[in-house]
């Protein structure tokens, strides 16, 4: 469904953020993108919907090359890709409902959206989504009155009301506390399963990633260095992705603290750290 071929991004400063990334995401697959800061995770996600303009390579969404689209075509392509942000990126002075409805902007004409006259089925869908993420009574609250976890739920509802085929998720939990992080990750993965959505989730918390997804892609200095199942992340692989560190020691400590039988891929207190 999504295919990246030789995707590169060179910033004006000369930094090569992406060096020929190839990636294939079949429909309905949730994959986690891990890697150290500066590995190009954020750039990769932003290149896919062209918030960042890629320098070369192809991005094929449902057989269409996104990199060649003009302004109108790009808008139509962006409607198929929902995005969820690290700092939630809600428009803080708008209400929760307006934020959710803003996900439909690509389908609605300017004046209609300006006067907030969205089609009734969209409003109904928005209420349904708010109920699904547990915020139905907050519809008319302003976004800046919500807590971090609540805001991220609004962000999820906004991405889903687009009716996307693909979710681009950029560090969804980096600004949240451990418990909320898990709830948000669980919610995203459940929703993807319910709606048969593919998703690319940028995440720096390896253990959290291992808990929730079936495929992990490791990025280092703009190159894919690992692509496989969560339990393939051996200390050697982690060293390759993140550089030298005593990975085994962390694991031993983890094993000490968790009851016998719990593997690394299961939930454990250290996931929070």
């Amino acid at each position: 469904m999504l295919r990246l071929e030789k995707l590169t991004k060179k910033y004006k400063t000369g930094d090569m953020a992406l060096k020929g990334v190839d990636l294939d995401v079949p429909p309905g697959q949730v994959l986690a993108l891990i890697g150290p800061s500066g590995a190009g995770k954020s750039t990769l996600i932003r290149c896919i919907n062209r918030l960042v303009e890629p320098s070369s390579g192809r991005i094929e969404l449902n057989g269409e090359d996104v990199t060649r689209l003009g302004a109108g075509g790009l808008r139509r392509a962006r409607r198929r890709m929902g995005m969820i942000f690290q700092e939630y990126a809600l428009v803080e002075r708008l209400t929760v409902m307006e934020n959710v409805l803003s996900g439909q902007l690509g389908y609605v004409g300017f004046w209609r959206s300006y006067f907030r006259r969205f089609p009734q089925e969209i409003v109904t869908e928005a209420f349904r989504l708010l109920e699904r993420v547990g915020l139905e009574q907050f519809a008319d609250k302003r976004a800046d009155q919500l807590s971090g976890g609540q805001r991220q739920r609004v962000g999820i509802a906004r991405a889903l009301i687009q009716g996307p085929d693909l979710l681009l998720v950029d560090e969804p939990t980096a600004s949240l506390d451990p418990k909320t992080s898990r709830q948000i990750m669980r919610l995203i993965c459940e929703l993807c399963a319910e709606r048969q959505l593919a998703a690319i989730i940028n995440i720096h918390d390896v253990v959290l990633a291992q808990m929730f997804v079936q495929r992990i892609v490791g990025l280092r200095l703009g190159e894919v260095v690992y692509d496989g199942p969560p339990d393939g992340l051996t200390p050697e692989v982690l060293t390759e992705i993140y550089g030298e560190e005593d990975w085994a020691a962390t694991r031993d400590k983890e094993a000490d603290e968790t009851p016998a039988g719990h593997g690394v891929t299961e939930g454990d207190p250290l996931a929070a750290m």
């Binding site: 409902m97 307006e98 409003v123 109904t124 928005a126």
Partner: protein, 272 residues
């Protein structure tokens, strides 16, 4: 959820963004009031279409004049006027700063005793409440025509601006730093010099440069009532419908203001 289910679907049928003003009565009152006011206000404009039609030619002539300004015909007047304006600007800003600084210290509640505070605040209030041009009229009446009246006007106006903003900055200083200096046994003047001055100096420089810029712009205005500067030349040009000369003067003012803003930006960046 069964009892709220109906409620939710009922709500789901309609959604409007919450209005800015919650009470509908107040909303209508304000809306109608604003509409009525604007209708009355626009009605009071007394537009004389014939006069405007006649003026269109002159307006167009002025626009043309801007593309082709005439610096030469009245060059001596323009040059002398501009120099006088600049001279007035420098003098009045310098005098204004010299008077403003002590007043600013006096008008900062955290360092001045109450009687001094009230006295200095009163001076600031008087200076701020009247337009430069009105003050200029009075000073021209008292000191006679010429740049001296203008300089005194602008110095007086500078006090209200500079002393007020500087006093606010002094009131906002970091108390910890001042306390540390006082704890070392410093006298009042030493406290000002070591604890307060370093903190407010960048702001004082920034404000002074900004006021220099304002004083130049104002010096072009006080000339309209005979207080010296380029304003008199400009007034004459307009009276004689010499739009090309007027355009030349306006362009000169704009260019000087631009240079002043640009260089003050450079200086402020260095100080802060």
């Amino acid at each position: 959820m069964s009892d709220t289910g109906f409620d939710a679907s009922e709500r789901a049928r309609q959604w409007r963004p919450p209005p800015l003003i919650a009470s509908p009565r107040l909303r209508w009152f304000l809306g109608l009031g604003a509409a009525l006011y604007f209708a009355l206000a626009i009605g009071s404009l007394e537009v004389n279409w014939l006069r405007i039609y006649e003026g269109l030619d002159r307006g167009w002539a002025f626009v043309i004049a801007f593309t082709n300004p005439d610096f030469t015909t009245r060059w001596t007047d323009i040059r002398e006027g501009l120099i006088e304006s600049l001279v007035m600007t420098v003098t009045s800003t310098a005098i204004g700063i010299a008077i403003s600084v002590p007043i600013a210290f006096g008008a900062a509640r955290n360092i001045a005793p109450l009687p001094v505070y009230l006295f200095c605040r009163a001076i600031i209030a008087v200076s701020r409440s009247l337009q430069e041009i009105i003050i200029a009229i009075f000073f021209v009446a008292i000191f006679g025509f010429g740049p001296l009246a203008g300089v005194i006007t602008l110095s007086f106006a500078t006090i209200g601006f500079l002393a007020k903003l500087l006093a606010e900055d002094i009131e906002d200083i970091d108390k910890g730093q001042a306390e540390a200096v006082r704890a070392s046994g410093a006298r009042w003047l030493q406290l000002m010099n070591y604890g307060v001055q370093p903190q407010v100096m960048p702001r004082l420089i920034g404000l002074s440069l900004y006021r220099l810029d304002i004083n130049f712009r104002e010096s072009a205005v006080v000339g309209l009532v005979g207080a010296g500067g380029i304003g008199a030349t400009l007034n004459t040009a307009f009276d004689r419908y010499e739009f090309d000369t007027a355009a030349a003067i306006l362009i000169s003012i704009i260019v000087i203001v631009m240079i002043a803003e640009y260089s003050s930006g450079l200086i402020r960046a260095r100080v802060q």
